[in-house]
């Protein structure tokens, strides 16, 4: 079955509905638009068996994505491991811990491959031939790679001080990389102007409502891999706050369609203290997001004026979750803890997620005896600068057994 159940784009503020087209803002109240579906059309047809019979990629849930028919871009993307993290669980003193490991997402090692494949598929459907994005790094690489594979022209706009790994990780695909003097919010501002003038598909501007829906596949996979169960607690990193809202939406959709039972899942958000407008609002008990100037090593989360901050705040409050933020030193410590206990080298955002989870476990916000999923969204190889001076340097010896014997003895090796 492949009948589209997409109904419309709907304003999250005033509820006004629009037909499916490349637009993201309500003409009446300027509120953000979101894709809405006629779930009733799927009742009884979209089953666990149907999903399990399909290839292991994010499109096994295609009925819940806003595309017509088959994907045009990124047909193999998604379906990353859900790792039962027993060693990390022991270190944190919790009973049941999982890592949804999008640091190995195909093809560019971040969860952005999910959103980009939906955005570019939709862009192709709309007839665009040039795609673009404002990016803190991961998105640039993903847009560049997926556009290259689909034969689309691409432009990616990034802050000029981005990690080398992320710049290279976009440039290799032959895209046009434009470095902007300023922060991500300045890049974003320029892109909203470029989008209006050049008529390109900007994945996080004019095709944003479709793009954002791709994040839901992380949540669907998490529940399927848990044995068709929703976790009790899920912790996600927050930049714009979009992932937080979409993980929540994915759980609600699976409950609505009878694919999982309602487990009263609480959604928690994680930020770096150097850019924590959403976590601050949650901790202050308000729903207003104060824009900040970002200053953190977690550059992929450095969005000072988060577009979905208000909605992420609402999800955390309504689901019974919370938000936390940690310092750059704590981010590095958490990156090392994840690497040393589970063999997963996450980027700085992964350190943020784990470090904040740890803080919320210690403060009692997240109970120790219930299932917890941490969403790790990017790969550490892209942000090596953050830990370059934090790991042991190789000890250099000659190719001599005698020299190694001395070293081994010093290590206490028997």
């Amino acid at each position: 079955m492949s009948e589209s159940i997409v109904r419309a784009l709907k304003c999250r503020e005033c509820g006004h509905e629009y037909k499916i087209e490349p637009t993201h803002v309500c003409e009446f109240c300027f509120g953000p638009l979101e894709v809405v579906y006629d779930y009733d059309k799927l009742q009884g047809k979209f089953t666990r068996e149907l999903i399990e019979s399909r290839p292991q990629n994010m499109w096994r849930y295609k009925e819940l994505l806003p595309i017509d028919g088959e994907p045009k871009v990124g047909a193999n993307n998604g379906y990353t491991p859900l790792v039962k993290a027993d060693r990390l669980a022991k270190a944190l003193g919790v009973k049941e811990l999982y890592i949804k490991n999008d640091s190995v997402c195909y093809p560019t090692l971040s969860f952005k491959d999910r959103v980009v494949s939906v955005a570019l598929s939709k862009a192709v459907e709309f007839g665009f031939t040039t795609v673009a994005c404002a990016s803190t790094g991961n998105l640039a690489g993903s847009v560049a790679a997926n556009a290259a594979a689909a034969g689309l022209e691409s432009y990616v706009f990034i802050p000029e001080d981005l990690e080398q790994g992320k710049v290279l990780g976009a440039a290799i695909f032959g895209t046009n990389v434009i470095g902007i003097r300023g922060q991500y919010d300045d890049v974003n501002r320029l892109c909203s102007e470029v989008a209006g003038k050049y008529g390109w598909a900007f994945v996080n501007v004019n095709v944003r409502p479709f793009y954002a829906e791709g994040s839901k596949t992380l949540g669907y996979e998490m529940m399927e891999q848990l044995g068709w169960k929703a976790p009790k607690h899920v912790v996600v990193p927050m930049a714009s706050g979009s992932l937080c809202t979409k993980v929540d939406k994915s759980i609600k959709e699976f409950i609505k369609l009878g694919l999982v039972e309602d487990n009263q899942t609480a959604v928690y958000g994680a930020q770096a203290t150097g850019c924590s407008p959403i976590s601050k609002s949650v901790k202050d008990g308000t729903d207003m997001i104060h824009p900040v100037k970002a200053n953190t090593i977690a550059k992929s989360l450095a969005i000072g004026n988060p577009a979905d901050g208000y909605y992420a705040n609402k999800v955390m409050k309504e689901s019974g979750g919370y938000a936390e933020d940690i310092s750059d030193e704590e981010i590095i410590a958490a990156m090392k803890l994840l690497a040393e206990t589970e063999g997963i080298f996450a980027e700085t955002a992964g350190g943020v997620t784990l470090g904040c989870a740890q803080k919320m476990i210690e403060s009692g916000r997240i109970p120790r005896d219930e299932s917890i999923v941490l969403c790790i969204t990017g790969n550490g190889l892209k942000t090596q600068e953050a830990v370059l001076n934090e790991v042991n340097k190789p000890r250099i010896i000659n190719a001599s057994l005698k020299e190694f014997d001395v070293l081994a003895e010093a290590d206490g090796v028997q």
Partner: protein, 80 residues
Amino acid sequence: MKLRVYLNFDEKSVTDPVIWKLAKEFDVITNIRSASVKEGMGLVGLEIEGHTEMVEASVRWLEAQDGVHVEPIEQNIIEG
């Protein structure tokens, strides 16, 4: 041209009649499309209409106001 922006006001600027001052200062039509004010903070969705130079100058003026953060919703040139 018409330009759509979100204006964020902090606790210092939230009680200032900034949009009134803007309309006094520049020959533009200001059209508030959404607004939320609470807890020492305000968020306004504003449409500014006028000659291109005038609209651009008015945005520069807004950006220079203490405690006001201007975020373009998109550059949507309808005319001019």
